[in-house]
Protein backbone atom coordinates (compact mmCIF):
# COMPACT_ATOMS: atom_id res chain seq x y z
CA UNK A 1 0.00 0.00 0.00
CA UNK A 2 1.37 3.41 -0.94
CA UNK A 3 0.67 6.76 0.67
CA UNK A 4 -0.29 8.65 -2.49
CA UNK A 5 -2.84 7.85 -5.22
CA UNK A 6 -3.29 8.63 -8.86
CA UNK A 7 -5.43 11.70 -9.32
CA UNK A 8 -8.52 11.50 -11.54
CA UNK A 9 -6.88 13.21 -14.51
CA UNK A 10 -3.87 10.91 -14.47
CA UNK A 11 -6.14 7.87 -14.20
CA UNK A 12 -8.31 9.07 -17.08
CA UNK A 13 -5.26 9.74 -19.26
CA UNK A 14 -3.97 6.26 -18.42
CA UNK A 15 -7.28 4.58 -19.32
CA UNK A 16 -7.71 6.61 -22.51
CA UNK A 17 -4.02 6.11 -23.40
CA UNK A 18 -3.45 9.80 -23.85
CA UNK A 19 -0.58 9.87 -21.35
CA UNK A 20 3.08 9.71 -22.30
CA UNK A 21 5.03 6.47 -22.28
CA UNK A 22 6.84 7.45 -19.08
CA UNK A 23 3.67 8.62 -17.38
CA UNK A 24 1.86 5.40 -18.37
CA UNK A 25 4.69 3.22 -17.10
CA UNK A 26 4.71 5.13 -13.82
CA UNK A 27 0.93 4.75 -13.45
CA UNK A 28 1.21 1.03 -14.07
CA UNK A 29 3.92 0.64 -11.46
CA UNK A 30 1.67 2.36 -8.98
CA UNK A 31 -1.39 0.27 -9.94
CA UNK A 32 0.57 -2.92 -9.34
CA UNK A 33 0.90 -1.96 -5.70
CA UNK A 34 -2.26 0.04 -5.01
CA UNK A 35 -5.57 -1.80 -4.70
CA UNK A 36 -7.79 1.32 -4.22
CA UNK A 37 -6.45 2.82 -7.46
CA UNK A 38 -7.01 -0.48 -9.27
CA UNK A 39 -10.61 -0.36 -8.15
CA UNK A 40 -10.93 3.18 -9.51
CA UNK A 41 -9.68 1.98 -12.90
CA UNK A 42 -12.92 0.05 -13.47
CA UNK A 43 -15.04 3.11 -12.74
CA UNK A 44 -12.94 5.24 -15.04
CA UNK A 45 -13.06 2.62 -17.80
CA UNK A 46 -16.86 2.48 -17.65
CA UNK A 47 -17.10 6.26 -17.82
CA UNK A 48 -14.66 6.45 -20.74
CA UNK A 49 -16.46 3.65 -22.63
CA UNK A 50 -19.73 5.46 -22.16
CA UNK A 51 -18.18 8.65 -23.59
CA UNK A 52 -16.84 6.77 -26.60
CA UNK A 53 -20.14 5.03 -27.34
CA UNK A 54 -22.09 8.27 -27.20
CA UNK A 55 -19.65 10.34 -29.17
CA UNK A 56 -20.67 11.38 -32.67
CA UNK A 57 -18.76 9.34 -35.16
CA UNK A 58 -18.25 10.25 -38.78
CA UNK A 59 -18.69 7.20 -40.93
CA UNK A 60 -15.23 7.11 -42.42
CA UNK A 61 -13.59 3.71 -42.30
CA UNK A 62 -10.56 4.95 -40.43
CA UNK A 63 -12.42 6.80 -37.72
CA UNK A 64 -14.96 4.02 -37.33
CA UNK A 65 -12.25 1.45 -36.85
CA UNK A 66 -10.51 3.74 -34.38
CA UNK A 67 -13.62 3.94 -32.22
CA UNK A 68 -14.18 0.21 -32.45
CA UNK A 69 -10.64 -0.37 -31.33
CA UNK A 70 -10.99 2.10 -28.48
CA UNK A 71 -14.02 0.21 -27.18
CA UNK A 72 -12.21 -3.09 -27.57
CA UNK A 73 -9.22 -1.73 -25.73
CA UNK A 74 -11.37 -0.42 -22.96
CA UNK A 75 -13.07 -3.81 -22.66
CA UNK A 76 -9.67 -5.41 -22.44
CA UNK A 77 -8.75 -3.00 -19.70
CA UNK A 78 -11.84 -4.01 -17.79
CA UNK A 79 -10.74 -7.62 -17.86
CA UNK A 80 -7.19 -6.86 -16.91
CA UNK A 81 -6.35 -3.98 -14.65
CA UNK A 82 -3.05 -3.49 -16.39
CA UNK A 83 -3.57 -3.14 -20.11
CA UNK A 84 -0.61 -5.15 -21.34
CA UNK A 85 -1.76 -4.79 -24.95
CA UNK A 86 -1.66 -1.02 -24.64
CA UNK A 87 1.75 -1.13 -23.02
CA UNK A 88 2.98 -3.40 -25.79
CA UNK A 89 1.57 -1.08 -28.47
CA UNK A 90 3.32 1.89 -26.94
CA UNK A 91 6.55 0.01 -26.57
CA UNK A 92 6.40 -1.02 -30.22
CA UNK A 93 5.63 2.55 -31.22
CA UNK A 94 8.69 3.72 -29.32
CA UNK A 95 10.85 1.19 -31.15
CA UNK A 96 9.33 1.06 -34.63
CA UNK A 97 7.96 4.49 -35.40
CA UNK A 98 10.81 6.43 -36.97
CA UNK A 99 11.94 9.52 -35.15
CA UNK A 100 11.62 12.69 -37.22
CA UNK A 101 14.83 13.69 -38.96
CA UNK A 102 16.49 17.04 -38.27
CA UNK A 103 15.09 18.31 -41.53
CA UNK A 104 11.58 17.14 -40.62
CA UNK A 105 11.82 18.82 -37.22
CA UNK A 106 12.96 21.97 -38.98
CA UNK A 107 9.87 21.87 -41.19
CA UNK A 108 7.63 21.32 -38.17
CA UNK A 109 9.36 24.20 -36.45
CA UNK A 110 8.59 26.34 -39.50
CA UNK A 111 4.89 25.65 -38.90
CA UNK A 112 4.23 22.72 -41.25
CA UNK A 113 1.86 20.11 -39.74
CA UNK A 114 3.55 16.83 -38.76
CA UNK A 115 1.92 14.85 -41.57
CA UNK A 116 2.90 17.36 -44.24
CA UNK A 117 6.42 17.65 -42.82
CA UNK A 118 6.86 13.89 -43.17
CA UNK A 119 5.65 13.91 -46.78
CA UNK A 120 8.05 16.69 -47.68
CA UNK A 121 11.04 15.32 -45.79
CA UNK A 122 10.75 11.90 -47.42
CA UNK A 123 11.92 13.23 -50.78
CA UNK A 124 15.41 11.99 -51.44
CA UNK A 125 16.29 15.41 -52.73
CA UNK A 126 16.07 16.80 -49.25
CA UNK A 127 18.49 14.25 -47.90
CA UNK A 128 21.70 15.69 -49.25
CA UNK A 129 20.87 17.43 -52.51
CA UNK A 130 19.34 20.39 -50.73
CA UNK A 131 22.29 20.62 -48.37
CA UNK A 132 24.71 20.39 -51.30
CA UNK A 133 22.82 23.16 -53.06
CA UNK A 134 22.90 25.48 -50.08
CA UNK A 135 26.59 24.79 -49.50
CA UNK A 136 27.23 25.53 -53.18
CA UNK A 137 25.43 28.85 -52.91
CA UNK A 138 27.37 29.79 -49.79
CA UNK A 139 30.65 28.70 -51.35
CA UNK A 140 30.00 30.76 -54.45
CA UNK A 141 28.96 33.70 -52.29
CA UNK A 142 32.25 33.50 -50.43
CA UNK A 143 34.16 33.12 -53.71
CA UNK A 144 32.28 36.07 -55.16
CA UNK A 145 33.29 38.20 -52.21
CA UNK A 146 36.90 37.12 -52.63
CA UNK A 147 37.30 37.83 -56.38
CA UNK A 148 35.93 41.34 -56.31
CA UNK A 149 32.65 43.14 -56.82
CA UNK A 150 31.67 42.73 -60.51
CA UNK A 151 33.24 39.35 -61.24
CA UNK A 152 32.09 38.05 -57.91
CA UNK A 153 28.52 39.07 -58.54
CA UNK A 154 28.52 37.39 -61.96
CA UNK A 155 29.84 34.25 -60.35
CA UNK A 156 27.22 34.33 -57.62
CA UNK A 157 24.38 35.12 -60.03
CA UNK A 158 25.33 32.24 -62.29
CA UNK A 159 24.89 29.64 -59.55
CA UNK A 160 22.39 30.90 -56.97
CA UNK A 161 19.16 30.85 -59.07
CA UNK A 162 19.71 27.40 -60.54
CA UNK A 163 20.14 25.60 -57.24
CA UNK A 164 16.47 25.83 -56.13
CA UNK A 165 15.15 24.64 -59.49
CA UNK A 166 17.55 21.68 -59.51
CA UNK A 167 16.52 20.74 -55.97
CA UNK A 168 12.81 21.14 -56.74
CA UNK A 169 13.20 18.93 -59.81
CA UNK A 170 15.08 16.37 -57.75
CA UNK A 171 12.31 16.29 -55.17
CA UNK A 172 9.86 14.63 -57.55
CA UNK A 173 11.86 13.27 -60.44
CA UNK A 174 11.46 9.48 -60.75
CA UNK A 175 15.23 9.14 -60.87
CA UNK A 176 15.52 10.75 -57.45
CA UNK A 177 12.15 9.60 -56.07
CA UNK A 178 12.06 5.85 -56.77
CA UNK A 179 8.77 5.40 -54.95
CA UNK A 180 6.95 7.70 -57.36
CA UNK A 181 4.73 5.04 -58.90
CA UNK A 182 3.10 3.84 -55.66
CA UNK A 183 2.92 7.48 -54.47
CA UNK A 184 1.13 8.42 -57.67
CA UNK A 185 -1.79 6.01 -57.25
CA UNK A 186 -2.66 7.09 -53.72
CA UNK A 187 -5.55 9.50 -53.14
CA UNK A 188 -3.13 12.20 -51.98
CA UNK A 189 -3.07 14.93 -54.67
CA UNK A 190 0.24 14.90 -56.52
CA UNK A 191 -0.11 18.63 -57.22
CA UNK A 192 -0.21 19.31 -53.50
CA UNK A 193 2.80 17.08 -52.85
CA UNK A 194 4.88 18.78 -55.54
CA UNK A 195 3.92 22.28 -54.41
CA UNK A 196 4.64 21.42 -50.76
CA UNK A 197 8.12 20.26 -51.68
CA UNK A 198 8.65 23.28 -53.91
CA UNK A 199 7.62 25.73 -51.22
CA UNK A 200 9.79 23.90 -48.69
CA UNK A 201 12.80 24.28 -50.99
CA UNK A 202 12.20 27.98 -51.48
CA UNK A 203 11.50 28.60 -47.80
CA UNK A 204 14.60 26.75 -46.72
CA UNK A 205 16.72 28.60 -49.26
CA UNK A 206 16.00 31.86 -47.50
CA UNK A 207 18.47 31.32 -44.65
CA UNK A 208 21.16 30.72 -47.27
CA UNK A 209 20.25 34.05 -48.85
CA UNK A 210 20.47 35.82 -45.54
CA UNK A 211 23.82 34.28 -44.73
CA UNK A 212 25.20 34.97 -48.18
CA UNK A 213 24.10 38.57 -47.74
CA UNK A 214 26.91 38.90 -45.22
CA UNK A 215 29.43 38.20 -47.97
CA UNK A 216 27.91 39.95 -50.98
CA UNK A 217 27.79 43.72 -51.04
CA UNK A 218 24.70 45.55 -52.28
CA UNK A 219 21.46 43.89 -53.37
CA UNK A 220 22.90 40.94 -55.23
CA UNK A 221 22.30 38.50 -52.41
CA UNK A 222 18.57 39.00 -52.80
CA UNK A 223 18.44 39.68 -56.53
CA UNK A 224 18.61 35.99 -57.40
CA UNK A 225 15.33 35.22 -55.69
CA UNK A 226 13.04 36.26 -58.54
CA UNK A 227 15.12 34.48 -61.22
CA UNK A 228 15.06 31.43 -58.97
CA UNK A 229 11.28 31.58 -58.57
CA UNK A 230 10.93 32.05 -62.32
CA UNK A 231 13.12 29.05 -63.10
CA UNK A 232 11.31 26.87 -60.58
CA UNK A 233 8.01 27.79 -62.25
CA UNK A 234 9.47 26.98 -65.68
CA UNK A 235 10.63 23.59 -64.42
CA UNK A 236 7.18 22.86 -62.93
CA UNK A 237 5.50 23.77 -66.22
CA UNK A 238 8.03 21.86 -68.34
CA UNK A 239 7.69 18.78 -66.16
CA UNK A 240 4.16 18.29 -67.49
CA UNK A 241 5.86 17.44 -70.79
CA UNK A 242 9.36 16.29 -69.91
CA UNK A 243 11.27 14.77 -67.00
CA UNK A 244 11.63 17.35 -64.18
CA UNK A 245 15.35 16.80 -63.84
CA UNK A 246 15.93 17.09 -67.57
CA UNK A 247 13.89 20.30 -67.62
CA UNK A 248 15.92 21.70 -64.73
CA UNK A 249 19.20 20.83 -66.41
CA UNK A 250 18.11 22.57 -69.63
CA UNK A 251 16.92 25.67 -67.74
CA UNK A 252 20.13 25.80 -65.68
CA UNK A 253 22.35 25.36 -68.71
CA UNK A 254 20.45 28.10 -70.53
CA UNK A 255 20.84 30.47 -67.60
CA UNK A 256 24.56 29.75 -67.28
CA UNK A 257 25.03 30.41 -71.00
CA UNK A 258 23.15 33.72 -70.79
CA UNK A 259 25.06 34.85 -67.69
CA UNK A 260 28.46 34.04 -69.16
CA UNK A 261 27.54 35.74 -72.43
CA UNK A 262 26.42 38.86 -70.56
CA UNK A 263 29.53 38.81 -68.41
CA UNK A 264 31.70 39.00 -71.53
CA UNK A 265 29.62 41.73 -73.19
CA UNK A 266 28.89 44.02 -70.27
CA UNK A 267 31.18 44.46 -67.33
CA UNK A 268 28.59 45.20 -64.64
CA UNK A 269 25.71 42.87 -63.69
CA UNK A 270 23.53 45.86 -62.78
CA UNK A 271 21.26 45.24 -65.77
CA UNK A 272 20.25 41.89 -64.32
CA UNK A 273 19.67 43.42 -60.91
CA UNK A 274 17.52 46.33 -62.01
CA UNK A 275 13.75 46.49 -61.90
CA UNK A 276 12.95 45.72 -65.58
CA UNK A 277 14.91 42.47 -65.50
CA UNK A 278 13.41 41.51 -62.16
CA UNK A 279 9.92 42.28 -63.48
CA UNK A 280 10.63 40.04 -66.46
CA UNK A 281 11.51 37.18 -64.12
CA UNK A 282 8.31 37.80 -62.19
CA UNK A 283 6.31 37.67 -65.43
CA UNK A 284 8.11 34.47 -66.43
CA UNK A 285 7.19 32.94 -63.08
CA UNK A 286 3.54 33.95 -63.40
CA UNK A 287 3.21 32.68 -66.98
CA UNK A 288 4.97 29.39 -66.27
CA UNK A 289 2.97 28.77 -63.13
CA UNK A 290 -0.25 29.37 -65.06
CA UNK A 291 0.81 26.77 -67.63
CA UNK A 292 1.64 24.38 -64.80
CA UNK A 293 -1.80 24.80 -63.24
CA UNK A 294 -3.58 24.43 -66.59
CA UNK A 295 -1.71 21.19 -67.26
CA UNK A 296 -1.84 19.86 -63.68
CA UNK A 297 -3.99 16.85 -64.72
CA UNK A 298 -0.88 15.42 -66.32
CA UNK A 299 0.72 15.12 -62.88
CA UNK A 300 -1.75 12.52 -61.70
CA UNK A 301 -0.61 9.82 -64.07
CA UNK A 302 2.66 8.51 -65.37
CA UNK A 303 3.89 10.63 -68.20
CA UNK A 304 5.36 9.34 -71.45
CA UNK A 305 8.91 10.10 -70.35
CA UNK A 306 8.50 7.76 -67.37
Amino acid sequence: MTAWHLDDDALRRYVERTDSLAEGASAEQHLMACEPCRARVNTTVTAAASRVEHSTVEHSTVEHSTVERSVTELSMTERSVIDFAAVWERTRDAIEVPRPSVFERLLRGAGLPAQEARLVAVASAFRGVWLTGVVAVLAFAALAAAVGHARGMWLFLSVAPVVPCLVVASSYDPWMDPALEPELVTPYPMLRLILLRTIAVLALALPAVLVSGLFIPGETAFAWLLPAVGFVAVVLAASTWFSPLRSAVVVSSGWLAVIWLLAFRISSPDAVLQAPAQAAFLALAAASFSVFLVRRRRLHQLRPWR
Binding site: R17, T61, V62, E63, S65, T66, R69, E89, R92, D93, I95, E96, V97, P98, Q115, R118, L119, V122, A123, S124, R127, D177, P178, A179, E181, P182, E183, L184, V185, T186, P187, Y188, P189, L193, R297, H300, Q301, L302, P304
Partner: protein
Amino acid sequence: MATASISLRDVGRTFGATRALAGVDLDLKPGVTGLLGPNGAGKTTLLRLLATALPPSQGQLSVLGLDPEVPAERTGIRRQLGYLPQEIGFPRGFTAFAFVDYIALLKEWTQPAARHAEVRRVLDLVGLSDLGTKRIRAMSGGQRRRVALAQALLGSPRVLILDEPTTGVDPEQRVTLRTVLAEIARTSIVVLSTHQTEDVAALCERVIVLDRGRVRYDGPVTELTGQAAGRVWLADEPDPAAKVSWRTGTGRYRNVGGRVRDGVEHVEPSLEDAYLLLRGGSPEPETTQEVAS
Protein backbone atom coordinates in the same frame (compact mmCIF):
# COMPACT_ATOMS: atom_id res chain seq x y z
CA MET B 1 -21.65 -3.14 -50.68
CA ALA B 2 -21.94 -3.90 -54.39
CA THR B 3 -19.71 -6.57 -55.88
CA ALA B 4 -16.47 -5.07 -57.11
CA SER B 5 -15.93 -5.08 -60.85
CA ILE B 6 -13.62 -3.76 -63.52
CA SER B 7 -14.58 -3.49 -67.15
CA LEU B 8 -12.46 -2.77 -70.23
CA ARG B 9 -13.99 -2.21 -73.64
CA ASP B 10 -11.74 -2.03 -76.69
CA VAL B 11 -8.99 -0.56 -74.53
CA GLY B 12 -5.71 0.29 -76.19
CA ARG B 13 -2.56 2.16 -75.27
CA THR B 14 0.12 3.57 -77.49
CA PHE B 15 3.42 5.27 -76.71
CA GLY B 16 4.15 7.42 -79.73
CA ALA B 17 4.27 5.01 -82.67
CA THR B 18 4.52 2.00 -80.39
CA ARG B 19 1.35 0.09 -79.67
CA ALA B 20 1.50 -1.60 -76.24
CA LEU B 21 -2.12 -2.73 -75.96
CA ALA B 22 -4.85 -3.08 -78.56
CA GLY B 23 -8.55 -3.95 -78.43
CA VAL B 24 -8.63 -5.40 -74.92
CA ASP B 25 -12.11 -6.42 -73.68
CA LEU B 26 -12.23 -7.76 -70.14
CA ASP B 27 -14.58 -8.01 -67.18
CA LEU B 28 -12.95 -8.67 -63.83
CA LYS B 29 -14.77 -9.75 -60.66
CA PRO B 30 -13.57 -10.67 -57.16
CA GLY B 31 -11.07 -13.50 -57.28
CA VAL B 32 -7.49 -13.89 -58.42
CA THR B 33 -6.79 -13.37 -62.10
CA GLY B 34 -3.34 -14.25 -63.39
CA LEU B 35 -1.71 -12.43 -66.25
CA LEU B 36 0.80 -14.38 -68.29
CA GLY B 37 2.79 -13.38 -71.32
CA PRO B 38 6.31 -12.91 -72.60
CA ASN B 39 8.34 -9.76 -71.97
CA GLY B 40 6.89 -6.89 -73.97
CA ALA B 41 3.44 -8.48 -74.17
CA GLY B 42 1.78 -5.48 -72.52
CA LYS B 43 1.24 -6.92 -69.03
CA THR B 44 2.76 -3.96 -67.17
CA THR B 45 0.90 -1.48 -69.36
CA LEU B 46 -2.40 -3.25 -68.67
CA LEU B 47 -1.73 -3.27 -64.92
CA ARG B 48 -0.82 0.43 -64.99
CA LEU B 49 -4.11 1.19 -66.72
CA LEU B 50 -6.01 -0.79 -64.09
CA ALA B 51 -4.10 1.00 -61.32
CA THR B 52 -4.97 4.43 -62.83
CA ALA B 53 -1.26 5.17 -63.24
CA LEU B 54 -1.74 5.49 -67.00
CA PRO B 55 -4.78 6.57 -69.02
CA PRO B 56 -5.82 4.44 -71.99
CA SER B 57 -5.27 5.92 -75.46
CA GLN B 58 -8.56 4.42 -76.64
CA GLY B 59 -11.57 2.54 -75.33
CA GLN B 60 -13.54 2.61 -72.10
CA LEU B 61 -12.16 1.63 -68.70
CA SER B 62 -14.31 1.46 -65.60
CA VAL B 63 -13.00 0.47 -62.16
CA LEU B 64 -15.55 -0.19 -59.40
CA GLY B 65 -18.08 1.62 -61.56
CA LEU B 66 -15.92 4.75 -61.63
CA ASP B 67 -14.24 6.46 -64.56
CA PRO B 68 -10.49 7.01 -63.99
CA GLU B 69 -10.53 9.90 -66.48
CA VAL B 70 -12.70 11.98 -64.12
CA PRO B 71 -10.43 13.40 -61.37
CA ALA B 72 -12.88 12.96 -58.49
CA GLU B 73 -13.74 9.41 -59.58
CA ARG B 74 -10.06 8.58 -60.05
CA THR B 75 -9.44 9.62 -56.46
CA GLY B 76 -12.39 7.43 -55.46
CA ILE B 77 -10.75 4.47 -57.20
CA ARG B 78 -7.41 5.18 -55.58
CA ARG B 79 -9.00 5.11 -52.14
CA GLN B 80 -9.90 1.46 -52.76
CA LEU B 81 -6.77 0.42 -54.64
CA GLY B 82 -3.56 -1.36 -53.75
CA TYR B 83 -0.81 -1.38 -56.35
CA LEU B 84 2.54 -3.08 -56.47
CA PRO B 85 4.57 -1.82 -59.45
CA GLN B 86 7.07 -4.02 -61.23
CA GLU B 87 9.93 -1.80 -60.14
CA ILE B 88 9.87 0.10 -56.91
CA GLY B 89 12.58 1.99 -55.09
CA PHE B 90 12.74 3.09 -51.50
CA PRO B 91 13.85 6.39 -50.02
CA ARG B 92 17.38 6.20 -48.69
CA GLY B 93 17.74 5.25 -45.04
CA PHE B 94 14.15 4.10 -44.61
CA THR B 95 13.13 1.13 -42.50
CA ALA B 96 10.33 -1.19 -43.62
CA PHE B 97 7.99 0.35 -41.04
CA ALA B 98 8.87 3.91 -42.08
CA PHE B 99 8.24 3.24 -45.76
CA VAL B 100 4.87 1.54 -45.30
CA ASP B 101 3.93 4.24 -42.78
CA TYR B 102 4.80 6.90 -45.38
CA ILE B 103 2.58 5.30 -48.03
CA ALA B 104 -0.17 4.92 -45.40
CA LEU B 105 0.02 8.68 -44.84
CA LEU B 106 -0.52 9.24 -48.55
CA LYS B 107 -3.44 6.81 -48.36
CA GLU B 108 -5.15 9.11 -45.87
CA TRP B 109 -4.44 7.16 -42.70
CA THR B 110 -4.19 10.34 -40.70
CA GLN B 111 -4.75 8.95 -37.18
CA PRO B 112 -1.28 7.85 -35.95
CA ALA B 113 -2.49 5.01 -33.69
CA ALA B 114 -4.75 3.48 -36.35
CA ARG B 115 -2.07 3.97 -39.00
CA HIS B 116 0.64 2.28 -36.97
CA ALA B 117 -1.67 -0.64 -36.22
CA GLU B 118 -2.44 -1.01 -39.92
CA VAL B 119 1.25 -0.86 -40.85
CA ARG B 120 1.94 -3.63 -38.35
CA ARG B 121 -0.95 -5.67 -39.73
CA VAL B 122 0.30 -5.59 -43.33
CA LEU B 123 3.93 -6.19 -42.32
CA ASP B 124 2.68 -9.21 -40.40
CA LEU B 125 0.74 -10.42 -43.44
CA VAL B 126 3.89 -10.49 -45.54
CA GLY B 127 5.94 -12.07 -42.75
CA LEU B 128 7.98 -9.01 -41.86
CA SER B 129 6.60 -8.18 -38.45
CA ASP B 130 9.99 -8.76 -36.85
CA LEU B 131 11.87 -6.72 -39.43
CA GLY B 132 9.96 -3.47 -39.20
CA THR B 133 12.96 -1.59 -37.85
CA LYS B 134 15.42 -3.02 -40.36
CA ARG B 135 16.69 -0.66 -43.03
CA ILE B 136 15.35 -1.63 -46.44
CA ARG B 137 18.79 -1.23 -48.03
CA ALA B 138 20.06 -3.97 -45.73
CA MET B 139 17.30 -6.39 -46.73
CA SER B 140 17.44 -9.19 -49.28
CA GLY B 141 15.65 -8.83 -52.62
CA GLY B 142 12.80 -11.04 -51.47
CA GLN B 143 12.34 -9.06 -48.26
CA ARG B 144 12.27 -5.79 -50.19
CA ARG B 145 9.64 -7.24 -52.48
CA ARG B 146 7.55 -8.12 -49.45
CA VAL B 147 7.90 -4.56 -48.08
CA ALA B 148 6.63 -3.31 -51.43
CA LEU B 149 3.77 -5.79 -51.29
CA ALA B 150 2.90 -4.70 -47.74
CA GLN B 151 2.24 -1.13 -48.87
CA ALA B 152 -0.17 -2.45 -51.52
CA LEU B 153 -2.16 -4.34 -48.87
CA LEU B 154 -2.80 -1.25 -46.73
CA GLY B 155 -6.47 -0.76 -45.96
CA SER B 156 -7.57 -4.13 -47.43
CA PRO B 157 -8.19 -2.66 -50.89
CA ARG B 158 -11.11 -3.81 -53.06
CA VAL B 159 -8.81 -3.80 -56.08
CA LEU B 160 -5.31 -5.21 -55.76
CA ILE B 161 -2.98 -4.89 -58.74
CA LEU B 162 0.30 -6.78 -58.41
CA ASP B 163 3.06 -6.71 -61.00
CA GLU B 164 5.27 -9.74 -60.40
CA PRO B 165 4.68 -9.91 -56.63
CA THR B 166 6.71 -13.05 -56.00
CA THR B 167 9.92 -12.10 -57.79
CA GLY B 168 12.83 -13.02 -55.53
CA VAL B 169 10.56 -14.35 -52.79
CA ASP B 170 11.55 -17.75 -51.36
CA PRO B 171 9.22 -20.76 -51.85
CA GLU B 172 8.04 -20.82 -48.25
CA GLN B 173 7.06 -17.16 -48.33
CA ARG B 174 5.43 -17.59 -51.71
CA VAL B 175 3.11 -20.19 -50.23
CA THR B 176 2.31 -17.82 -47.34
CA LEU B 177 1.61 -14.97 -49.76
CA ARG B 178 -0.68 -17.23 -51.81
CA THR B 179 -2.73 -17.84 -48.67
CA VAL B 180 -2.91 -14.11 -47.95
CA LEU B 181 -3.92 -13.24 -51.51
CA ALA B 182 -6.51 -16.03 -51.66
CA GLU B 183 -8.13 -14.64 -48.52
CA ILE B 184 -8.17 -11.08 -49.91
CA ALA B 185 -9.63 -12.34 -53.20
CA ARG B 186 -12.77 -13.57 -51.44
CA THR B 187 -14.12 -10.03 -51.64
CA SER B 188 -11.58 -8.12 -53.74
CA ILE B 189 -10.40 -8.16 -57.32
CA VAL B 190 -6.80 -9.35 -57.41
CA VAL B 191 -4.91 -9.15 -60.70
CA LEU B 192 -1.32 -10.31 -60.76
CA SER B 193 1.21 -10.68 -63.51
CA THR B 194 3.96 -13.20 -63.17
CA HIS B 195 6.37 -15.37 -65.05
CA GLN B 196 5.81 -18.09 -62.43
CA THR B 197 3.18 -20.35 -63.95
CA GLU B 198 3.07 -22.42 -60.77
CA ASP B 199 1.86 -19.33 -58.86
CA VAL B 200 -0.95 -18.92 -61.38
CA ALA B 201 -1.82 -22.61 -61.25
CA ALA B 202 -1.88 -22.62 -57.46
CA LEU B 203 -3.72 -19.35 -56.92
CA CYS B 204 -5.76 -18.18 -59.90
CA GLU B 205 -9.11 -19.41 -61.06
CA ARG B 206 -8.76 -17.38 -64.22
CA VAL B 207 -5.80 -16.68 -66.46
CA ILE B 208 -5.30 -14.12 -69.20
CA VAL B 209 -2.50 -14.65 -71.68
CA LEU B 210 -1.28 -11.52 -73.42
CA ASP B 211 0.91 -11.48 -76.48
CA ARG B 212 2.00 -8.39 -78.39
CA GLY B 213 -0.62 -6.26 -76.73
CA ARG B 214 -3.57 -8.56 -77.43
CA VAL B 215 -5.45 -11.10 -75.34
CA ARG B 216 -4.55 -14.57 -76.62
CA TYR B 217 -6.45 -16.52 -73.98
CA ASP B 218 -8.93 -15.59 -71.28
CA GLY B 219 -10.54 -18.32 -69.25
CA PRO B 220 -10.21 -20.83 -66.43
CA VAL B 221 -6.76 -22.19 -65.65
CA THR B 222 -8.10 -25.74 -65.82
CA GLU B 223 -9.43 -25.16 -69.34
CA LEU B 224 -6.08 -23.85 -70.56
CA THR B 225 -4.30 -26.79 -68.98
CA GLY B 226 -6.88 -29.12 -70.52
CA GLN B 227 -5.95 -27.87 -73.99
CA ALA B 228 -2.58 -29.56 -73.52
CA ALA B 229 -4.03 -32.93 -72.55
CA GLY B 230 -2.51 -35.71 -74.61
CA ARG B 231 0.17 -33.42 -76.06
CA VAL B 232 2.82 -33.84 -73.38
CA TRP B 233 4.87 -37.02 -73.10
CA LEU B 234 8.12 -38.47 -71.90
CA ALA B 235 10.55 -40.21 -74.22
CA ASP B 236 14.15 -41.36 -74.17
CA GLU B 237 15.01 -38.93 -76.95
CA PRO B 238 13.95 -35.37 -77.73
CA ASP B 239 11.33 -35.19 -80.47
CA PRO B 240 12.40 -32.81 -83.27
CA ALA B 241 8.75 -32.16 -84.08
CA ALA B 242 7.89 -31.10 -80.52
CA LYS B 243 7.30 -27.40 -79.83
CA VAL B 244 9.51 -27.62 -76.77
CA SER B 245 11.64 -30.43 -75.45
CA TRP B 246 13.96 -30.67 -72.47
CA ARG B 247 15.82 -33.27 -70.45
CA THR B 248 14.26 -33.88 -67.05
CA GLY B 249 15.92 -34.93 -63.83
CA THR B 250 15.18 -38.58 -64.55
CA GLY B 251 17.19 -38.43 -67.75
CA ARG B 252 14.13 -38.71 -69.97
CA TYR B 253 12.91 -35.97 -72.30
CA ARG B 254 9.70 -34.07 -71.77
CA ASN B 255 8.19 -33.24 -75.14
CA VAL B 256 5.43 -30.68 -75.50
CA GLY B 257 3.37 -30.40 -78.71
CA GLY B 258 4.17 -31.74 -82.13
CA ARG B 259 3.38 -35.19 -83.45
CA VAL B 260 2.62 -37.75 -80.73
CA ARG B 261 4.09 -41.17 -81.55
CA ASP B 262 2.84 -44.53 -80.42
CA GLY B 263 4.35 -46.06 -77.32
CA VAL B 264 5.37 -42.86 -75.60
CA GLU B 265 4.53 -42.20 -71.96
CA HIS B 266 1.87 -39.53 -71.70
CA VAL B 267 2.03 -37.29 -68.63
CA GLU B 268 -0.34 -34.86 -66.98
CA PRO B 269 0.22 -31.43 -68.57
CA SER B 270 1.10 -28.49 -66.35
CA LEU B 271 -0.01 -24.90 -66.88
CA GLU B 272 3.47 -24.17 -68.15
CA ASP B 273 3.08 -26.85 -70.84
CA ALA B 274 -0.24 -25.37 -71.90
CA TYR B 275 1.20 -21.85 -71.91
CA LEU B 276 4.16 -22.93 -74.04
CA LEU B 277 1.81 -24.67 -76.46
CA LEU B 278 -0.38 -21.59 -76.68
CA ARG B 279 2.62 -19.36 -77.30
CA GLY B 280 4.27 -21.67 -79.78
CA GLY B 281 1.28 -23.20 -81.51
CA SER B 282 -0.94 -20.30 -82.42
CA PRO B 283 -0.78 -17.98 -85.41
CA GLU B 284 0.86 -14.61 -84.90
CA PRO B 285 -1.51 -11.84 -83.81
CA GLU B 286 -2.50 -9.13 -86.22
CA THR B 287 -0.40 -6.50 -84.45
CA THR B 288 2.27 -5.38 -86.85
CA GLN B 289 4.03 -2.74 -84.87
CA GLU B 290 6.67 -3.21 -82.27
CA VAL B 291 5.28 -3.12 -78.75
CA ALA B 292 6.68 -2.39 -75.31
CA SER B 293 5.39 -3.32 -71.89
